[in-house]
Symmetry: C2
Subunit: 240 residues, 2 copies
C-alpha cells in the first residue's frame, strides 16, 4: 500500500523518478528493521513532538516523497502543532512545488507557505537546491523533514536550526547530522508525533525536560544495534 502511494505520487507529478529509487532504499532498511516502530524511534518521535511544542517558529519541510506518503498525517500534524508547512524540494521545479502545494491543500493542510513566498538561500547552498521561503525555513528555529538529502540537512544544522529528520537509513548523512533522527517509516513516524504533540502541548515544561535529557548519538547507536540484532537472528535462522 505504501508502495502504491509513492507510485501514484509519481503519476500525479509529485514524486520524481529518483524519489522512487530513494523509496526503495528506505524499504530495504524498513524490511531489515522488521517494518515496525522500534523503541528508539518512538522515543525520538516524542522528542520531535517536544520540539514542536516548545519552538517559536517550527516548520514542517515537505518534499515529494513525504507529501505522497503522508498528506493526511502532515495536515493533522500541522493542525495539532500549529506548525507551518513549507514545500521544499531537492529536485526543485516551480511546477512541482505548485502541484505539491495544491495536493497538500486538497488533503486539508491549511497552514502552508504559498509557492509565491519571498525566497532566500540556505547559507552554503546558493543554488536551486538551497532555495527556501524567507518566512518559512529561513526564520524557523526548528525544522522537521523527511527523506532529505544529507547536504541540505547539514546546511540547515550549520545555519543554527534544530533539525529533526525522518530517515529509515541510520547511516545516511541526514541521519548522522540531524539534531533528532527518527529511524522509522514516514507514515508511522508522523502518526506517533501527532499523538505525542496532543499529549505534550499543554505541558511545555515536560517537553523542555525531555529535550534536555535527549542524546541523539545514543538513539543512533540503538538503531545500529537493532539492525545488528535482526541480522544476527536472521543469520542464525537463515532467513529474515
Amino acid at each position: 500500500m505504501t508502495r502504491e502511494k509513492i507510485v501514484e505520487g509519481y503519476r500525479k507529478g509529485i514524486v520524481v523518478l529518483h524519489g522512487l529509487i530513494a523509496h526503495g532504499r528506505g524499504e530495504a532498511f524498513d524490511y531489515l528493521l522488521g517494518e515496525k516502530t522500534h523503541g528508539f524511534a518512538d522515543y525520538a518521535e516524542k522528542i520531535v513532538a517536544s520540539y514542536l511544542v516548545v519552538s517559536n517558529r517550527p516548520i514542517i519541510s515537505v518534499n515529494g516523497n513525504y507529501a505522497a506518503l503522508a498528506p493526511d498525517e502532515i495536515a493533522e500534524l500541522s493542525r495539532v502543532s500549529g506548525a507551518y508547512v513549507e514545500v521544499n524540494l531537492f529536485h526543485r521545479t516551480e511546477e512541482r512545488i505548485a502541484r505539491i502545494y495544491e495536493f497538500l491543500r486538497e488533503h486539508g493542510v491549511e497552514r502552508i507557505l504559498p509557492p509565491s513566498c519571498e525566497k532566500t538561500y540556505v547559507p552554503g547552498l546558493e543554488s536551486k537546491r538551497g532555495i527556501v521561503c524567507r518566512e518559512g525555513i529561513a526564520l524557523a528555529d526548528f525544522v522537521l523533514l523527511a527523506i532529505e538529502d544529507g547536504d541540505r540537512t547539514e546546511a540547515l544544522v550549520g545555519w543554527g536550526k534544530k533539525v529533526a529528520a525522518i530517515d529509515l537509513n541510520p547511516f545516511s548523512r541526514t541521519a548522522q547530522k540531524a539534531t533528532v533522527t527518527v529511524v522509522d517509516d514516514a507514515i508511522r513516524a508522523t502518526r506517533n508525533i501527532i499523538r505525542y504533540v496532543e499529549g505534550l502541548r499543554g505541558n511545555r515544561e515536560e517537553a523542555m525536560r525531555l529535550i534536555a535529557g535527549y542524546d541523539n548519538k545514543l538513539v543512533l547507536k540503538q538503531a545500529f544495534k537493532a539492525l545488528l540484532d535482526r541480522l544476527e537472528f536472521a543469520v542464525s535462522r537463515g532467513v529474515l
Copy 2:
C-alpha cells in the same frame, strides 16, 4: 551512473515504476555490503559460468531492470557462452517485451528468442506472470536471471531447472530458492561471469568438478556474515 541507467531505462519504456523501487532496495544492500564483489559472490559467479559451460540448454532470462543496467554485458555473455537470451517480465506487456527485445538487439544481442516465440506456462504459475517461450525457458536445463520475483524463481526450481539468481538481497525469496545465488550488482556480476566463462569453456571437466563441490547454503551464510561484519564495523565507528 548505475542509477542513471535505470532512470534512462524507465524513460525508454524498458523499466517500470516498480522496477525503480526494486532498484533502490538493491542499492541499499549494495551500500551495506560496501559496493564491491565479495569473495562469496565471486565464487558463485564462477559456478554460474560453470553451469553455462556444461548445460545443454542454458538460457539468460532478462527483465527490464537487467536489460537497462547491463545490455552490453548480456550481449557479451550470450556471445561467449552461446546461451540464448529470453526477455521475460513479471509486469508483462507485449509492448514492453518488444521494446526490450529491440533494445537488446541494438546492443548486439544476437542469440535471442523473438517476441513471437511459441508460448507456454511455468507449471504452477498459469497467469501472465508464468508465460515463457517453449523453445526458451521451458526447454532450458539452466536459467540465469537477475532481480527476479521469488514466486517465479521458486516455480522454475520446482520445474526441475537449475536456477542462478543475481540478487543483492541475500534474504529475498529468490536468493533463498535459487540453486546458485549471486549476491552482487548485476553489472559487476555479469562481467565476472563472462571472464569465468572464457576461462572454463575449454574445460568442461573443471566446470563439472566446481559444480559438484558447490554449496549454496554456505555462500548465503557468508553473505549474511559479510553484512553482519560490515554492520558491526559501522556500529563501532558510528558510520558505515
